[in-house]
Symmetry: C2
Subunit: 239 residues, 2 copies
């Protein structure tokens, strides 16, 4: 079904298929951090992220969350609905970490009275700047109805994933989502991926980081962390 | 009534009075920009800002907005209710300018589909970082009820001030508010000041800037701009 090359992102390549409303995603092992200031390769990351993301998207679909997922074709290849991405990274946080810790001068792991949601403008050349909620509609990036849908879905996804992760001894510290409008009917669906690249996963007991922070901050054991998440979530090893 | 020195900010000094719930504000001519990276003096700014701010606060009170204003004692001195400031700058925007233009790579004057509100964390050493709305309650800076009150007041203040400014040929591009809880009864009131230091005022026809941007960006005619706003708003000149 693979036809023409469409787009190459930091972690995935997209190809058209015979159906104009369906694209093929191929997950790469390429890793980048800090807006491409750091680059590298994480062996088998593409396999881990493809399968973990598809696993999460199927769980979320089972809870009524509309997603772009259609079918996993191979260990690195998945068919998804073609969407026009809303150019906002939607970040849900359960504990302070990463950019929030840095910007506000707080310790990683600092407690929050409740989960938070924030939006950053997807624009590499501006380093994905944080936006106020009201910027999205004021800049016509989406409608108020779409914004309300996205917020509602993001919090619901957080509830579902937090529970899933607790079952396997993982604290879901924060994660990034992207949403898009399907080219077929304009419906808002969860798109992109949910994986150790886009989430902070801490072991619930030891607080060991099992996500891309190991790559970002040269903590070692990067491949092992991805494969541990693969094993805990899917109950098997790669290969 | 002036008793003990309480606090010196960038543009004002505060003193206690005989009443523990009332403080005396003295407006200075000191000007700072870019978080004190640039400093200077704007002749008579203290007089202009004291009187303009009191003028606005009285108009807002007339529309039912609770404020800290009690009484103007002299050209630079005003009595206000003592408050515990909520450590968030509340920024309302009608057109893109300043940090929003810089962060998002947009031109100053870029249209917005509607007014926006955003919050930055009042912390000089962090350069007042932008926060998501939900950070305020998640970090216990205020309650959800207080946040809703603040948002409602901020948008209402925008409506009132936009109309006031249009009457004198000024476009209100954006402005910064601060709110506090009165020490007397914990009520949320508008505090700090509303002045050419805290607003962007553009002449409605020529788009000439009549605010602190003239100081920030070395545009010349700084004192004249402050005095022009004083004249347009109060119908008289200083002295």
């Amino acid at each position: 079904m693979k036809k023409d090359f469409l787009y190459e992102g930091k972690a995935k390549k997209l190809y058209t298929t015979d159906d104009p409303h369906i694209v093929l995603v191929i997950y790469k092992d390429d890793a980048t951090a800090f807006n491409r200031k750091k680059t590298g390769t994480i062996l088998n990351k593409g396999v881990v992220n493809n399968r973990i993301s598809n696993h999460f998207f199927q769980i979320l679909a089972g809870h009524g969350i509309p997603t772009h997922f259609i079918e996993e074709l191979s260990e690195r290849e998945t068919l998804v609905k073609r969407v026009e991405i809303i150019p906002a990274e939607v970040i849900v946080r359960n504990q302070v970490a990463g950019s929030m810790a840095r910007r506000l001068g707080l310790e990683e792991g600092h407690a929050l009275a409740h989960s938070t949601i924030e939006f950053s403008y997807k624009k590499d050349e501006l380093d994905d700047p944080l936006m106020a909620d009201s910027y999205l509609t004021a800049l016509n990036l989406c409608s108020q109805e779409e914004l309300d849908q996205i917020k509602g879905m993001a919090f619901r996804i957080n509830e579902i994933l937090q529970q899933e992760m607790l079952n396997i001894g993982i604290k879901l510290i924060d994660f990034k989502l992207e949403f898009g409008r399907t080219t077929a009917d304009g419906q808002i669906v969860l798109a992109d991926e949910i994986s150790p690249d886009t989430c902070r996963f801490w072991d619930a007991e030891t607080h060991k980081k099992l996500d891309k922070d190991r790559f970002r901050h040269d903590l070692g054991g990067v491949e092992e962390a991805y494969q541990e998440m693969y094993y805990r979530l899917l109950g098997k090893t790669i290969g």
